[in-house]
Symmetry: C2
């Protein structure tokens, strides 16, 4: 197992201890539990946004806690949901009386535990609302949208809802924007190698040389198909039409693009992929508002990437363009301006 770790059973707690030591001005934990992570600075009166989910996906989920994004995160073990109690503790720590949005990926364990936490929060007179990320078109057909997994596209929901909450919008509005963004976001990934859960010590599956798994989930869930590994341009042409088939663009709409490395894939390759994505979108007359290219939702050392498209109107662009500042994600305001070489 080619990892820099100590005891596999200490993987998550030691990772979290390292994060708190590295970012003491930005993050802290509550209830003496390192799994209950909150932003060090809580803004009074604001709608709070809480996420949570299994470890092994950095910067997802905890990496988006900070200014202009989320207020807290309940951190589970590798690929495991946090407990309802941990979610509740985070909820109590971040609620400022304006209500709490639960925004997390559509996985059974998380649904159960966030659901229990919401019921318990009600006893404490904390209003919660739930929006799930379910952007992975590889995990279920469009008519079974409720069965779809949440993957990297939740970044767009974090960004929009986080900016809306930072601007002081009410819970109903933050919920509406998170749902609107979710409905406009579609993702699909491709993997070339598996990852290794530290406590298991070996890959749960393998991808043969010369084979790519299309639609694989960020925990290694099976995808749409195992196919012959293809050139980058061909991979783009395999994924992009599937995503575009689910998005109807109206005049004035543009697209936000997220090219997400799953762990081991170099950024060079993500840009080689983007080159062709940009051209294909241009051919269809779809303007790119902004592209985020890097690691946003990983599966530890998995080789692969996911492509997420978010159809954006002026309202969503306005929130995506706001600055954000977390230990794992920093963005200055996105402004229009002069362009470089003609594209």
């Amino acid at each position: 197992m080619k990892k820099f770790i100590n005891q596999p059973s200490d993987y998550v707690t030691e990772m979290l201890e390292g994060i708190y030591l590295a970012h003491p001005r930005q993050l802290r934990y509550v209830n003496d539990d390192v799994h209950c992570l909150v932003a060090a600075r809580q803004v009074s009166g604001k709608v709070a946004i809480v996420t949570g989910g299994g470890s092994g996906h950095l910067p997802l989920f905890l990496g988006y806690v900070g200014e202009g994004m989320l207020d807290g995160c309940a951190v589970g073990d590798v690929f495991q949901s946090p407990s309802a109690e941990q979610i509740l503790n985070v909820t109590k720590a971040v609620d400022r009386g304006a209500g709490v949005l639960y925004l997390f990926g559509n996985y059974t364990g998380d649904l159960i535990n966030f659901g229990m936490a919401a019921e318990l929060a009600e006893f404490d007179d904390i209003t919660t609302r739930t929006v799930v990320g379910a952007d992975d078109v590889g995990s279920a057909p469009a008519e079974r949208h409720d069965k779809r997994r949440g993957v990297a596209g939740i970044f767009f929901q974090y960004k929009v809802a986080g900016a809306a909450a930072a601007q002081g919008l009410a819970l109903d509005e933050v919920v509406r924007l998170a749902e609107k963004t979710g409905a406009a976001t579609k993702s699909l990934g491709v993997a070339l190698t598996p990852c290794i859960i530290p406590e298991v010590g070996k890959p749960a599956f393998s991808v043969a040389e010369g084979v790519m798994e299309v639609g694989m989930g960020i925990h290694g869930e099976p995808g749409i198909a195992q196919e012959a590994q293809a050139d980058a341009n061909i991979v783009v042409d395999r994924l992009l039409p599937i995503l575009l088939a689910e998005l109807t663009f109206a005049p004035g709409d543009s697209v936000a693009v997220l090219i997400n490395g799953l762990g081991a894939t170099p950024q060079d390759e993500l840009y080689i992929l983007y080159r062709h994505i940009h051209r294909r979108l241009a051919e269809q007359g779809i303007q790119v508002f902004h592209v985020w290219c890097g690691e946003f939702a990983t599966a530890m050392e998995m080789t692969g990437f996911s492509l997420s498209l978010c159809r954006v109107d002026a309202e969503l662009r306005g929130y995506l363009a706001q600055p954000a500042h977390t230990p794992f994600f920093t963005q200055f305001a996105i402004t229009e301006g002069e362009h470089g070489n003609p594209s």
Copy 2:
């Protein structure tokens, strides 16, 4: 070869095309050559900073071109120096009459080509000065400092020199600060797997299961020793004393820490490593000014990490704390403030 690429011979140009398409407001190229990359916004009157080097290390080198950092980068093929002509073209495009600092890693090809470019620039009445990054203590003993390779620690030189130039300091001062930072920066890496040059198609070497290569370079140059793979804490205890032995801390000094993933190593592991680094530094009474943890200088899909320490006084802290904004590195100003949980 588990990569998302097209023709291996197009790897660098397609990567660059993707970067220009993704960041048209921040980057452009000159002389119709995508390898000649400059910041889209050039500030008049400012000392310009030009870097360059081989591809395959993103975000190094080009990723640091932008506000508060560098003005241009000559991009070579994978692990190859750019040409003197490309460096000269970038130099001419960014010179604003205040002189140009060449700041790059200590490799033979780069030294030759930057040297030729400097001579050619003189004919155009452009003053250049050269400072090299030579932070890798694994590449030569301290008494042969001139033979040491430059690795991730050059980030600190970019950050300090870039902030100094942005504040309008003269070339002599920017050079002094780049040199001061370089002398205070020491790095050492460990690798568990090699990387694959696209045009070669297979690893140039291998690291056996259960073995770690201590001191390996970012092109796979041999390190200090091949040793039995050890727990994260033990790896830290192997590296840290070697770095600290070369740094003498005066009262008021603190340390800036860079934990750099070489490509495939998850961020979780970098934070597990930082946990122990922080404790060991605290035991020695060395205060951490700030830690940067992520991918800053990679070797494509290599599994491994490097640790860089930069001893900082009030002057260097002031420049490191300034904001920066490039397509690959964004930092808000670092401010002191309340802390989270006690460490």
